[in-house]
Symmetry: C2
Subunit: 445 residues, 2 copies
């Protein structure tokens, strides 16, 4: 693994190089995505079927062949081995329970003069969930994307999952059943994103698209942003562990690997103030790496993007954490809660030696869709709040309107917007008449 | 104004045509923006100064000439005429009070086995606010963008406002003072967005950029999305009024104009079930239009994008409201609160005849930065929540970890992620040992 020392002169620049990652869609990808979106918008189903046959090597005659009936989802769930079914159901239940805490409620208050102010919170009407096909087709992602939408009260959740070469993932279908997904299409790529964003004869137009995907999917999502809502564009997954040097090095090594095995671009970093402890972890990384089933992928990730960073003390560790703003942060220390108030930026914080990231990935309850590549500086885990939106409420009583009209009139004229001013002034009560008793918003003209 | 009738055969298609709007940045704009961002990233201040001189017709020798000291803001505020100063201060105070209701708080709960779950809510570190220059430079927008950030607890708010031809707007500087903006640069366009997103020698890198701008600004914001957070890409402003036919037609005409005077692309629509009332409003629109100071702009907007829509009844009106998902919705009826639960999509809802949009634009309290062009289907008014983010909290007790590890292990192996499984399994307690009493997250290994 890379070895950095905060005392080194070039440390800051070395760290920047280590963290550098930019998801670039080149011009060729952009052109393909533009073409796919344009054709799906104009030709609908026919284009979706055509692209699916071409890119996923299928022979579908029409959208019916790319539609999974609900009974098929139930069947997938019921035919799972009992252990897997129970584990999936337990995870779904925990995710549901945690996310119920995130529901936002409408609120309002009434001022002394009868004017009502507040926000009405409502769920989105319809949401699309993208699930990658093939090797990266994860049932846990189905739960993590669909359950918050359902907890928010979204009436209709549409899932798209490609089946390259016709390969269907039974666990993914079972998870869709557990998560109450309403409709499933076996389509993927930019064509799935375009179909969800604009609608076709078979695929209903959604209001928001969430879920990870390859560069074509990410580029298409960025392209349709504005037409529909999207979640963050995800980069490779990362973990940052800060350890006080007292956790079993095997535990830390395996926690680093749990990130590194995702893909070669994944990043695993350990920070400690004890150089001997970093040596000990490096030794266990070297010893355990060959025992991993995905040793090839994890090896590249660990060697090229992994790092052991020596810091002077805890203060410096906290500073680094906030600078990196990691997707996953493990505080593998004796008193993690004491550190917590000083952590400003992280997608998810795993507190204490007994909380490896893997528990959060599957079943602790919180979402595993988290801001990557330092975007925890400004964004949050996927949550129920991503599937709700707010409408401001303003209901002026005649007296309240008159008071506000006086202010608005001055400001609107200051901005040269005199129709605004006149619209406000029409609600002024005559100066010489005392304002009537507050009538509330029900009191009409 | 356009006249539509829901009974007509072609109504739905006509409505789609009326609402159609797509903010397209052509290839030339895209190229210019790419070049500006690339140069600002590599050359920093020098590029920003160069572009500012070129695009804003200035002769700045360096960034110092494009930096406004705090004392200058205070001076602008103190030298305002008393009436304007009082109105601005009253508006700021109301906006601040309303937004204080939006602050999200951290939360957590502890399960029976000692496992802690929750979310920690923190403000962003630094935010950039873009304020257009020249004619569209609105002090109210400064308040609406900066105050929620400050209420969220953002320590540093940076404002960029171009001064084309050197023209400084004193009201904008005064509003920046009132809203506690920390630093102001008189730069604009894609160069300002690039400077905020990547930082230069003088302009600190921010975590999120909010505020409206022209097509270059919007294109640049879309481009830097991911590097920093951005707010929605705003389209032209719209108002939809539903009236029961009992509001003074002059009031409705002026409310429609308050939207139409913004720009020629702005959209003003009135829905009613009484054709004679629509005639009456049309007559007042015709009579009042010539009296507007911005009659040229409002006239084009009203003629080309404005519409009077006749519906059968209230149910149909509600259906239309939800289909259009307007930025501003006025319910100019006797009992607006009775309708409210049926309104699913709107940026802001103005309740009753005494609540014209103009009051919300300036001083009612709620934000005037709202989702346009139907994006209220999936997004919300700008708010304090846009300047806060969440970190998930997971702290497993040894017993809790062991329970979760059993579930995670099964699911991880189902996904072929065996390092995840092994990382979880390391936290299993020996089967034959009873789980120790819940130790909470402070209990280390």
């Amino acid at each position: 693994m890379n070895r950095l020392d905060s005392r080194d002169a070039g440390f800051s620049a070395d760290l920047d190089r280590l963290l550098a990652w930019e998801g670039v869609s080149d011009a060729a990808v952009q052109r393909t995505v533009d073409e796919v979106i344009t054709r799906v918008r104009s030709e609908g189903d026919a284009a979706v079927v055509d692209y699916s046959n071409r890119f996923d090597h299928l022979q579908a005659a029409g959208m019916a062949a790319l539609t999974v009936p609900r009974e098929r989802l139930q069947q997938a769930y019921e035919q799972l081995p009992g252990r897997e079914r129970d584990a999936l159901a337990a995870a779904a239940e925990r995710v549901r329970r945690y996310h119920a805490h995130q529901r936002q409620e409408s609120w309002q208050y009434t001022e002394a003069d009868g004017t009502l102010l507040g926000q009405q919170v409502t769920p989105l009407d319809r949401v699309g969930i993208y699930v990658p096909g093939g090797k990266a087709s994860y049932p846990s992602s189905v739960l993590m994307n669909a359950i918050p939408a359902k907890v928010a009260g979204v009436p209709e959740v549409i899932m798209c999952v490609p089946t390259p070469g016709g390969e269907v993932n039974e666990l993914v279908l079972a998870a869709a059943w557990l998560a109450d997904v309403d409709r499933v299409f076996t389509i993927g790529g930019a064509q799935a994103v375009a179909a969800l964003a604009y609608g076709t004869e078979s695929v209903p137009r959604v209001d928001k698209i969430v879920g990870p995907g390859n560069i074509y999917v990410a580029t298409a999502k960025r392209q349709v942003f504005g037409q529909v809502g999207i979640d963050m564009i995800a980069g490779p997954s990362e973990i940052l562990i800060y350890c006080d040097g007292l956790t079993d090095p095997d535990w830390i090594a395996m926690d680093l690997f749990s990130q590194a095995e995702h893909d070669e671009q994944a990043q695993s970093i350990l920070i400690a103030s004890d150089a001997a402890y970093l040596d000990a972890v490096q030794a266990r990384v070297d010893a355990l790496l060959p025992t991993l089933e995905r040793a090839d992928i994890a090896g590249v990730s660990i060697r090229e993007r992994g790092a052991l960073i020596l810091v002077r003390d805890e203060d410096e560790a906290v500073e680094l954490i906030n600078r990196i703003a990691p997707e996953h942060l493990e505080l593998s220390v004796a008193e993690p809660l004491a550190l917590l108030p000083r952590v400003r930026h992280a997608g998810a914080i795993f507190l204490g030696r007994h909380t490896p990231e893997a528990l959060g990935d599957y079943c602790a309850g919180p979402n595993h869709v988290l801001p990557t590549s330092g975007t925890a500086r400004f964004s949050s885990p996927l949550g129920v709040y991503d599937f709700q939106k707010r409408s401001s409420l303003i209901g002026c009583s005649p007296a309240g309107a008159s008071t506000l009209a006086g202010i608005a009139s001055v400001l609107a004229r200051g901005e040269g917007l005199t129709a605004h001013a006149r619209s406000a002034e029409l609600r002024l009560l005559p100066d010489d008449e005392p304002a009537p008793a507050a009538g509330g918003v029900e009191g009409g003209a």
